[in-house]
């Protein structure tokens, strides 16, 4: 018997788990790589913003710094939505489906609230995608993020269905953990977008 095979057996004093197990699952690592490439995408989006801003000849932003109110409220909703998901996932880890369902539904509601605020903000702007480079960047970057919120909310909705069907419990909930990882990422990216578009214009004055 070889050294390695013995090591393996010694290391595994007990039996190996089978199937999709939290951070041992391929999906968990897959989501980390998705987040890496998505983070790169937003990095390039924000690079484009700063590049155009740095090269601008007139005043920047051309329409003055954007008002903070709606976006700040939206930020609060997204952070709350991350917190409710964290709490829901904690519940299912202990085998409690109730908190998970409550967490999922509240996060979806908060996400919809965020989207509503964004749409109100969009409709109040006096520039469009086609009016200038700032408008192009503003609507593209926030639009990309909204798309991520919509995809995330759809994901949470599917998770709610699957949870109601009784698929998940203390032993099996990798699908939840993986989706929650994505949901936290959507929140973190928004903070980067918020700081770039809403906070930095006030810092440079």
């Amino acid at each position: 018997m070889s050294l390695v095979a013995d090591d393996v057996r010694l290391y595994r004093g007990e039996a190996l788990p089978v199937g999709s197990k939290g951070r041992l699952s391929s999906g968990w690592w897959g989501m980390l790589t998705v987040i890496a490439t998505e983070a790169a995408l937003f990095a390039y989006l924000l690079f484009s913003y700063f590049y155009v801003a740095a090269q601008a000849t007139g005043r920047w932003p051309p329409h003055g710094p954007p008002k903070l109110g709606l976006a700040a409220a939206g930020t609060v909703l997204l952070v709350l939505g991350s917190a409710t998901m964290w709490w829901g996932e904690k519940g299912i880890r202990a085998g409690r489906r109730g908190p998970l369902l409550v967490g999922l539904v509240s996060s979806i509601v908060l996400a919809v609230g965020f989207l509503v605020l964004e749409v109100i903000e969009w409709s109040g702007k006096d520039f469009s995608l086609a009016s200038d480079a700032y408008g192009s960047l503003y609507y593209t970057v926030t639009g990309f993020h909204m798309l991520h919120v919509i995809v995330g909310a759809l994901m949470l909705a599917m998770l709610a269905v699957w949870t109601a069907l009784g698929y998940f419990g203390a032993r099996r909930h990798s699908t939840i953990s993986i989706a929650v990882l994505y949901w936290h990422f959507v929140t973190v990216v928004w903070i980067a977008v918020f700081v770039t578009f809403y906070v930095t214009p006030y810092l440079q004055r």
């Binding site: 199937g19 041992l24 790169a40 390039y44 484009s48 192009s136 599917m158 699908t175």
Partner: protein
């Protein structure tokens, strides 16, 4: 058949499809060389020539160079790593289908004479709507975003497969260099591809929705295109050469009858090349009027990146020097690769100097350089790699006699065809001109170039003929015809669907040479180990030391990847022709396909219904 998720099937599909694209791209080059063989020719109109050189570049760089390496890696990775499949078999199938559809997408307007025509790097404002109003650039823009999906999910699969599915004991310092190369390329792609996908999306929006990202009148920046493109483009160059260098690092030593000299140095050089590769993109933009401090920084970085490449070159030379070379066809291709790589590396080193580059940019010197690099580091190792792994792919050996002929014809044809391009470039011939006037002294050299290019093409065709002939008439190969050291040679040729009947345990870098190497670390076990015969299973191991920590359940064949890929292609087709109904319908279909795909399954151990919780 269409629902297969077996990495070997998918790998072969990648190889065949990419090789067909190589032949198409070569045909386009052959037509261009006929046009350029003499001054003032009129075989092609300028419009046709623009489309040909653009599609030639797009085809070779995007539809051949990476996909062929993905083919090798898909087929080989689980065999090299002692596993039963990639980490995400269905994603693997999806990646192939999207690649195929994006290839067709990029060619959809070619028969109409409306193919992309602004060069593969597609600079604005030339590619912007006012100067290029047809559908040509829209096809390129959307096709590239679609292809980016394939590249991204493929890269995710490689990264996670490396982290999770190595055989027990195959610690990170024991994986073959090909694995290092593909891993590095994949990690690079994850960070680089979003730049080009974003750039092309922005360009499409500028063209069709009136946004102003690249349009100076609206406050946009034309140079933003160049930055985003080359932030992607330069890492991409390394993505399409590092796995090919890995092929050489793994296969060349087999024909030198010794392990690779400097494994650790070569593995680290691979990673270092990619890291530095993210800091040299501006050397494509030396002539754009950037500030001198920026030019100095990127020029210095471009000099430094030569060092890791040189490390690999000296490792290969030392392997040959201290080994007992067998002059087989694969050896010839790998040795020829080293020669061509050094020449291409030198011309790259020259253009890293800002004053030299300012003189040579957009001349044939650059065309010579990039073909030395891409044909040298990609096509020659790929040809050698196909010879080397053909028995594993098909169970038969390729003809050595035809193989040697094809190598010498390709090698001589290549150098006759491409070396004089350095000279016409130095004489001032610009790239991408559809013809040139008599009296400039470029005619004779261009005739030589065309003759060499056709000789090279003849070599490629002989190589293709050898493949087709050997499929039926090749000598039958046993499991290990080359007496090679790595795990793929421990299984029958071609391998059974499950790869390994039992999961092997690995104790060194060269599991099949352990009884011959002095001072080897332990002994691997291949015939005995974990049986894992309860459905489709493979073992998951820890990221660095490959200690088993879970038994992974693998999915079976599924139509979902193909359906999702078709939905995605329809989505982009709708965007191309502004049929928002089609796009909307396709988006809904895509969401449904994904829902079915991701539906938790007890058989995969994703739900509480799973029955066989812990066992031995």
């Amino acid at each position: 058949m269409l629902t297969s998720v077996d990495h070997k099937t998918i790998g072969k599909r990648y190889l065949v499809t990419a090789f067909l694209f190589l032949l198409i791209g070569g045909l386009e080059a052959a037509v261009m060389r006929a046009q350029l063989a003499q001054p003032d020719q009129s075989l092609l109109t300028p419009e046709q020539y623009n489309q040909l050189f653009t599609m030639h570049g797009v085809t070779m760089i995007f539809l051949y160079a990476l996909p062929i390496l993905s083919g090798f890696s898909n087929f080989l990775w689980p065999l090299l790593l002692g596993s039963r499949d990639m980490a995400f078999p269905r994603l693997n199938a999806f990646s192939y289908w999207v690649f195929l559809f994006s290839g067709l997408f990029l060619y959809v307007s070619f028969p109409l004479g409306k193919a992309p025509d602004a060069g593969w790097f597609n600079y604005v404002p030339y590619a912007s709507l006012p100067f290029n109003p047809g559908i040509n650039i829209d096809v390129y823009a959307l096709g590239m975003v679609l292809l980016g999906v394939s590249t991204t999910v493929g890269s995710i699969n490689f990264v996670v497969s490396l982290i999770r599915t190595r055989a027990p004991g195959m610690s990170i310092n024991r994986v073959p260099i090909l694995v290092w190369g593909t891993l590095t390329a994949s990690a690079g792609n994850l960070l680089a591809v979003p730049a080009v996908s974003l750039a092309f999306l922005m360009l499409w929006m500028d063209r069709r929705f009136g946004s102003h990202f690249f349009d100076i009148a609206g406050g946009g920046q034309p140079l933003l295109w160049q930055h985003l493109f080359w932030m992607f483009g330069h890492p991409w160059v390394y993505a399409i050469v590092l796995p090919a260098m890995g092929i050489v690092s793994d296969a060349l030593p087999v024909f030198c009858r010794r392990p690779l000299v400097g494994y650790t140095a070569v593995a680290l050089a691979t990673v270092t090349t990619m890291v530095l590769g993210f800091g040299v993109w501006v050397h494509h933009m030396f002539a754009t009027g950037l500030p001198p401090v920026s030019l100095s920084f990127f020029s210095a970085a471009s000099f430094i990146i030569v060092i890791p490449s040189a490390v690999a070159v000296f490792a290969w030379l030392a392997t040959i020097w201290t080994g007992r070379p067998q002059f087989t066809t694969p050896f010839l291709f790998f040795a020829g690769f080293i020669v061509v790589f050094v020449i291409g590396g030198l011309s790259g080193f020259m253009t890293a100097a800002v004053p030299v580059d300012t003189q040579l940019t957009d001349t044939y010197f650059i065309v010579a350089h990039l073909h030395y690099v891409l044909i040298g580091i990609n096509v020659l190792p790929v040809a050698g790699g196909i010879h080397y792994w053909f028995p594993k792919l098909t169970g038969r050996l390729m003809s050595e006699r035809l193989g040697k002929w094809s190598f010498w014809i390709m090698f001589i044809g290549f150098n006759v065809g491409f070396f004089p391009m350095h000279i016409v470039g130095l004489l001032g011939m610009p790239r991408r001109v559809y013809t040139y006037p008599d009296g400039l002294g470029w005619g004779a050299l261009n005739l030589v170039i065309t003759a060499g290019a056709y000789l090279f093409a003849a070599g490629v065709l002989l190589f293709a003929f050898n493949i087709v002939r050997s499929l039926r008439h090749g000598e039958k190969a046993g499991p290990n015809p080359w007496d090679a050291p790595s795990l793929e040679w421990a299984v029958p040729s071609p391998p059974p669907p499950y790869n390994f009947a039992v999961i092997p345990s690995v104790a060194s870098r060269y599991p099949l040479w352990e009884d011959r190497l002095e001072g080897h670390e332990g002994s691997s076990t291949i015939g005995e180990g974990m049986l894992l015969d309860d459905g489709r299973e493979t073992v998951g191991t820890s990221a660095l030391d490959a200690i088993p920590d879970v038994i992974l359940r693998m999915p079976g064949d599924s139509p979902a990847p193909l359906i999702l890929a078709m939905a995605l292609a329809a989505l982009f087709g709708g965007m191309l022709v502004h049929s928002w109904w089609l796009s909307g319908f396709a988006a809904v279909a895509a969401v449904m396909a994904m829902t079915v795909w991701l539906w938790p399954e007890a058989a995969l151990g994703q739900t509480m219904d799973v029955v066989d919780e812990p066992r031995g």
